[in-house]
């Protein structure tokens, strides 16, 4: 299924926006999680965790799924493929792992927000867990961004078979 030039540009734009937006949102999350961890002010810690939970469902999860969906569409609709180039496979794995961990981790964020909502003191309320998870997500998403830019060479077995039929990228937009 080959996408038209216009459709390729549209889905590529959507993929870049979703992926880079996800990275920016995670950076904000990292800052909020650090603030919640080090602050002694109950209102600050409570506000940080409540915002993180709400923004997680409203921003992080949608952006992660949008990045995954548009990435798969890009792969299926162009000669890059989804499983033909190692860098695309790596990006797919990163995206799936990060999305699954994020969705599972939303339970922890919800628990932290519930805890913060009823807490009477900030002491012990901050948790290093969101900092660790957000930092890990930043590393993964930076690697994915780098792979998209550098596109290191290397065909998978599937890619080599496709190459023999002349249906392997790169694709110029």
């Amino acid at each position: 299924m080959a996408l038209s030039l216009g459709a390729r540009k549209l889905t590529l734009t959507a993929h870049v926006v979703a992926s880079v937006g996800w990275l920016g949102a995670v950076a904000t999350f990292t800052a909020l999680s650090v603030i919640a961890l080090v602050s002694d002010d109950l209102a600050t810690v409570r506000g940080a965790y409540l915002v993180m939970e709400a923004a997680g469902w409203a921003v992080l999860v949608p952006l992660s799924l949008a990045s995954l969906a548009t990435g798969v569409i890009q792969g299926l609709g162009t000669k890059w493929g989804v499983l033909r180039h190692y860098w695309v496979v790596f990006k797919l794995v990163i995206n799936v792992v990060a999305s699954v961990v994020l969705i599972l981790y939303m339970q922890t964020l919800s628990a932290l927000a519930d805890d913060a909502a009823v807490a009477t003191e900030a002491d012990g309320l901050g948790s290093p867990s969101p900092v660790v998870h957000a930092a890990g997500a930043i590393v993964l998403l930076l690697v994915a961004t780098g792979l998209s830019v550098y596109k290191p060479k290397g065909l998978t077995a599937r890619g080599r078979r496709a190459q023999s039929t002349g249906s392997v990228g790169p694709v110029s937009l």
Partner: protein
């Protein structure tokens, strides 16, 4: 007979057998090491991982209504 275990980066013309790129091998090794480190860290922490450890009442939470 072609030597499939050769580390020569450029395969024979027309051959579909190519060695896995070095960056892929290194990346896989790095991922395995990181995963093992994470698993070791979780084991050292006693497997206390997940939302269950963030139960209400653990951080100075107000007592539930009706409780003494």
């Amino acid at each position: 007979m072609p030597n499939h275990t050769s580390s020569t980066p450029s395969p024979e013309p027309g051959s579909t057998e190519q060695p896995m790129p070095r960056w892929v091998k290194r990346s896989i090794i790095a991922v395995v090491v990181v995963v093992l480190l994470i698993v070791a860290a979780l084991l050292i922490m006693g497997g206390d991982h997940g939302p269950g450890r963030h139960g209400p009442g653990n951080h100075g939470a107000a007592p539930a209504a009706g409780s003494s």
